[in-house]
């Protein structure tokens, strides 16, 4: 808990979207939109198969910062733009950096990139309290 943070500190978190993750996330979250669970509907919707719920990708960005600060209960804010779908078997690398520390709060900018180097989130910002 005595850990100190400085502007510029970085962290990395890697998550694989395994084959059934959109279905597991659907069960846990209630988001059963067929574009996440039915490849045929995904094709009709022009998405070339199922895509992971954007909110699961958001959760992984939150997870990355929660691990970095050591307590998921300290997350205070998250803001993301979903720039590209995550598909089953994609590997997403989250790289974060502290951009500001004010009073009892730190702000991080987080990038999320798939295995082809494409951004799946844009402008992601996660804030956490320091104690």
């Amino acid at each position: 808990m005595a850990r100190t943070f400085q502007v510029g500190d970085t962290f990395t978190h890697v998550r694989e979207c395994d084959l059934y993750r959109p279905i597991y996330y659907a069960g846990a979250s209630g988001d059963f939109n067929p574009i996440h669970i039915d490849p045929e509907v995904g094709k009709v919707a022009g998405l070339d198969g199922v895509i992971l719920q954007g909110l699961c990708t958001l959760a992984w960005a939150v997870e990355a910062v929660g691990i970095f600060v050591g307590d998921p209960g300290r997350i205070r804010k998250v803001k993301v733009r979903f720039s590209r779908p995550v598909r089953p078997e994609d590997v997403v690398t989250f790289e974060g950096r502290i951009t500001a520390i004010e009073a009892d709060r730190l702000t991080t900018e987080v990038t999320a990139t798939n295995q082809r180097g494409e951004a799946v989130l844009k402008g992601a910002i996660v804030e956490a309290s320091l104690g």
Binding site: Q53, D71, R76
Partner: protein
């Protein structure tokens, strides 16, 4: 077809949701990468905080009970957004709807037994780059009337 801007300001809710411990565990472990099976949410991967699933560890921790993974809030706070995009008067083609942007603010933690009440309001409707955007703001209060989660949900209807 453009969505009529006169729906800006339309309100949805209140919707009430009681937070259950097993649902919190299930969500935290599904996000964390566990493999659920009948009767269990799966073995927790090492990177998942025990504060999210382990009663004993959580009792000794800073919150005295397990807490919700922060974005567990979407499970109930999405309701006004879902109601807005499914509102027949708006006429959104759900097959063409994708999630464009999301903002969540957490003013406190959520524990099992908390009763969350969510209301929402269409903040904006606009067209950009040939697509339609619907923005819904939500606010979720616990049983003590404290605002715990604020959300800003942006749906994009592809053309």
């Amino acid at each position: 077809m453009a969505i009529d801007k006169r729906f800006i300001g339309r309100e949805y809710g209140p919707y009430t949701y009681t937070i259950g411990a097993e649902k919190l565990r299930e969500f935290a472990l599904a996000v964390g990468g566990a493999h659920p099976a009948a009767g269990t949410p799966g073995e927790p991967p090492e990177h998942v905080s025990p504060l999210l699933y382990d009663d004993d560890a959580a009792k000794k921790g800073p919150y005295g009970d397990i807490i919700a993974f922060p974005s567990f809030a979407v499970v109930f706070a999405i309701r006004p957004f879902g109601a807005a995009v499914a509102d027949p008067e708006l006429g959104v083609n759900l097959l063409m709807l994708v999630h464009g942007e999301q903002e969540l603010e957490f003013l406190g933690v959520m524990r099992p037994g908390d009763v969350m009440t969510t209301t929402g309001r269409i903040e904006n409707i606009y067209g950009k780059a040939g697509m339609e955007f619907v923005v819904v703001a939500t606010e979720s209060r616990n049983q003590r009337g404290e605002v715990v989660v604020k959300g800003l949900w942006t749906g994009v209807i592809r053309s």
